[in-house]
Amino acid sequence: MRKTAIALCLALTLVGMASAQNVTVKLGIWPEDTLAGDIAMHQGFVKEFNATYPNVTIVPAYYKYATDTFVSLAETGQLPTIFESWFTEPQKLIAGKFVKDITAEVKALGWDAKMNKSVLDLMSKDGKIYGVPRDAYALGLMVNVELFKKAGLVDKSGLPLYPKTWDELAKTAKTIKDKTGAAGLCLLAKDNAGGWHFTNIAWAFGAKFEAQKAGKWVAALNTPEAVAAVQYIKDLKWKYDVLTADPTNEDWGTGFRELGTGAAAMYIGAQDAVNQPTQVNGLDVKSLALVPVPAGPKGQFSLMGGTPYMFPANATSAQVTAALHYLEVMGRAPLVNAKTVAGLKADAQNRKNQGVPVVPTFPAWTDPAFLKAQAAALDESRNVDMRLYNDYYAAVAKKGNLRTEEPFAAQDLYAELTKVLQAVVTDKGANVQALLDTAQKNFQPLLDKAANK
């Protein structure tokens, strides 16, 4: 015990004396031991990085973020200088004072102006910035353009007249069912993916399933807003009858199959899954559109997830700046150079070779120079009409559009919601309020276990 304490003091002294020139960065984003190829890649990055920043010592310190290990590591000052987390976490970590305010460092590099405003919001509090994005996805509505054409739901240029609200979606779906026989929407109700998609629908009706009240997290599954959202699903089945034959047998993969093979016209999906209906399930690459998730009476949201980089509260400014420069070398920063452009081009050609829509990555960064370089790189291999995607990209770059998953026990929440969905799509007489009351009763103890220890 005593030995440890002495050693620690010594180490602190040394760092203090040397900090003017030398910086040590413990890299929590180092790959785990078994990934030999990724480690070789990072060894290359370190070499490249040290050519420019010889004063920085990079120390591999693989760390996989986990809620149960994080707090003890943070409190004992053992977190690496930079680590990955999930987009559900920043606000919790900021409130707990575990992470460093990096506003000055980010601004010095000019990155604040290049970040997606909605992503920036998720990592900021009171105007201060606490993280930068690695990558992200956001849900949208995927559309089978062929079916829209068959149903006469296209404008003069042949673009689908897609629904802007959930109300419109029900009607559009009905038209498709009547005119083509295909389902209007593929709704998932088999496993947790059902609840996952449903949260995005329910937000538009004003539902918010978890909230903090007086320091305690409470579930809100049986609110009037949630009832309205479930009632809407029930109507899709019994009033409009526009779903696929058996939603309780539909999961993430079968949904893309229904969409891709023309058995359903609309399906909730993200921009990183455009290969699923096309390459995997055979839909012509030109017959897919990705549009914003419809709005409801209480707004329009896109469920997003992904990975932010964050820094522990005890990191120094020099350490943070060095770590940000390392991200540049990794190609995770909003920089445009010959290699990033060549990489974007090659990626686009590969997608084209595979019959996958060549569309931009999720705009976690919105630097105009980067977006322009990306557009130019993708243009050479363009295999889709970008008008089928533009509205989606515009929507998710809007402030306040992105919303992360509910913060605690999300999988358990989805399981409960899926049970409710299963009941309302199989039982015409299902009592929505009673089902949600039961779900609420089931879920609160699980939320307590996860959040109110």
Partner: protein, 611 residues
């Protein structure tokens, strides 16, 4: 539903199936018919399984889910995928300090890695099944096509069936309809031909196996499990596939799948319910309760028992882990078997006999010894008090296997070993004991694996030294953008420039020419290209036909080295080939038009060095 009136049976601690931890492999087993065991504590706590409405108590048919998918020397030239999982981390040719082969598994079979066509291994397995009261095998089966590795799997299945029939054991299949999708991907089938291919497979089954009296049946209908369905999702498709010239097969699908067509459902370790990488006991119990409740009103039931789940995929670099289910000193097997028995099944499927990749094995291993086979023997004794074998008998087959491996003793020795197996298979316990004594085979209660001689470290060729770059020059292609015309599965082109010899690119099957084009971002003087495959021996010799071209602008490509055959051989050149370039260019393209070792071009690494 009669749920409110139903009697809930709480399994506090199951009676006969439960035994105290630790006694199974270390202590002496009972003599035949010695009666019940010491009871464990709370092994089945939390199980809440209704007495089924539709099924009475009977002795279930115990079938082990069996993987006929292993290849090993000397039957095969090298070790198959399932012993090395790609070979990035595990190489069964290598011998660990304790004499074990370095296989891709968290468990080690007492026999060491075997070939599923090797008679010595198959008779060992069948003898163990006989002596533990197992009734037979459910084969994990991929059909009759000669595509991918399905040919050897089918061959192995046929070999094992011959042994099973000689031993008086039963069999059934678990059809992997995902094989259809895989064959389409490999261009062995077209989408339009998918249904006809499956139909043909089932017609073959009808002709060859379904009518066999050793094939397991329910109500006179052959039992077919399906690991899915994963490819055919519509009832109409299955109706066509199942309309064979004989009684319609009794189709049993994975729980929650194929509801439109299945006659029943079976469960499987519900690893999807894992949280934080592990499946907790609570979640498992809750799943089992739900599964058996759903089966309550069904006339027949196939229930599954499993000892745990500990896969090697992530460690082997061949995929992500599906999760972890603790073996819990045998308690997980007790729990799942106890639950299965409570539901009064017609068939108990043991998952698995030998899936070493997923670590669900009950075949004897160094780690767990004979524990699960002893539990199954106890189960058999519960219905058949005079079952003729005890725990010590389970130790005989490995000694027979070792004796078979050794050449000593010649023909006489072989004959005396054969006599022991013959007696076991002929249900003659007395003759077995006499033959065992005559063959001078001794058993004890230990766990006694067959291990290799510890090999002296070999002065193997180190390819990273044998092939470049002696001057320490930089590999210009490392992590550069690369365009590939096609790929199969996850073997994408970027794997050829990732600096990792264990990962590789492979083009789509039978779609020559395949090409790789690397972009060096700026024009460079190029001296040499080095093309590498994984240097390990599991990547056996092959030749690839390759043309090399270069370009300054990525549009106009000029020929640099004409098409020719390049030999890749781990022993001769460390699976690496050097091609002189001598040109200034920004882009380099390799066009593959033949490969004697696969249906497409393959490359683990493309390295380019300046002049």
């Amino acid at each position: 539903m009669t749920r409110s009136a139903a009697i809930y049976v709480y399994l506090l601690s199951a009676a006969i199936l439960v035994f105290a931890a630790g006694c199974a492999t270390a202590g002496a087993g009972p003599k035949a018919g010695a009666g019940s065991r010491e009871q464990g504590s709370g092994a089945s706590g939390g199980l809440r399984i209704e007495e089924p409405e539709a099924r009475g108590e009977k002795r279930p048919l115990v079938l082990v889910h069996y993987m006929p998918w292993f290849q090993a020397p000397p039957i095969a030239a090298g070790y198959g995928f399932h012993w090395h999982q790609g070979g990035a981390v595990f190489d069964p040719f290598a011998t660990l300090p304790d004499g074990r082969a370095n296989i891709a598994s968290n468990y080690y079979p007492l026999t060491g890695p075997y070939d599923s066509r090797d008679g010595k291994a198959l008779e060992y397995q069948a003898a163990l099944m006989k002596m533990s009261g197992i009734d037979g095998v459910v084969f994990d089966w991929y059909g009759i096509d000669e595509a991918l590795d399905y040919g050897p799997i089918h061959e192995s299945t046929l070999a094992m069936i011959a042994v099973l029939k000689a031993a008086g054991l039963a069999y059934a299949i678990c059809y992997e309809d995902q094989s259809i999708g895989r064959m389409i991907e490999a261009k062995h089938l077209t989408r339009d031909g998918a249904l006809a291919a499956a139909k043909k497979t089932f017609d073959w089954l009808q002709e060859n196996w379904f009518a066999d009296e050793a094939y397991a049946k329910l109500d006179g209908r052959p039992v077919v499990l399906c690991f899915g369905p994963q490819y055919f999702k519509d009832a109409a498709q299955w109706n066509e596939i199942l309309s064979v010239d004989g009684p319609r097969p009794w189709l049993v699908c994975l729980d929650d799948q194929g509801s439109a067509v299945a006659d029943g459902s079976y469960d499987w370790p519900p690893m999807w319910a894992s949280e934080g990488g592990a499946l907790s006991r609570d979640r498992l119990v809750s799943y089992l309760n739900g599964f058996y409740e759903r089966q309550s009103a069904k006339p027949h039931l196939v229930a599954t028992a499993f000892p745990g789940f500990f896969d090697i995929y992530q460690k082997a670099g061949s995929g992500r882990s599906y999760g972890f289910l603790d073996y819990a000193e045998g308690a997980t097997f007790e729990l799942t078997l106890g639950a299965a028995m409570r539901a009064r099944p017609d068939i108990i499927q043991i998952a698995t006999w030998n899936d070493y990749g997923e670590g669900t094995v009950v075949e004897p291993t160094i780690e767990h010894g004979y524990r699960e086979l002893e539990v199954l023997q106890d189960l058999r004794r519960r219905f058949e008090a005079d079952f003729p074998y005890d725990y010590s008998d389970l130790r005989a087959p490995i000694e027979l296997f070792k004796a078979r491996q050794s050449a000593a003793g010649g023909a006489d020795r072989r004959k005396s070993i054969g006599a022991v197996y013959d007696a076991i298979f002929a249900n003659s316990p007395d003759a077995y004991r006499a033959a065992l004594a005559a063959a001078k085979i001794k058993t004890d209660f230990g766990v006694s694996p067959y291990l290799r001689e510890r090999a002296a470290p070999s002065a193997a060729l180190d390819p990273s030294l044998a092939v470049f770059d002696p001057a320490g020059r930089e590999n210009l292609a490392f992590r550069m953008p690369i365009v590939y015309t096609s790929n199969i599965y996850a073997f994408t082109g970027d794997k050829a420039v990732d600096g990792d010899l264990s990962s590789y690119w492979e083009g789509a099957a039978n779609s020559y020419p395949d090409s790789l084009t690397v972009d060096l971002v700026s024009s460079r003087r190029l001296g040499t290209a080095v093309l590498k495959l994984n240097p390990k021996r599991i990547w056996g010799p092959r030749t690839q036909r390759i043309e090399v071209l270069s370009s300054e602008d990525g549009k106009e490509f000029v020929p640099l080295a004409p098409e020719r055959d390049y030999p890749f051989d781990p022993a001769a050149n460390g699976n690496a080939v050097a091609i002189p370039l001598g040109v200034a260019a920004r882009y380099l393209r390799l066009v593959f038009s033949g490969n004697s070792g696969a249906g497409a071009g393959q490359l683990a690494e493309l390295e380019i060095y300046g002049e």
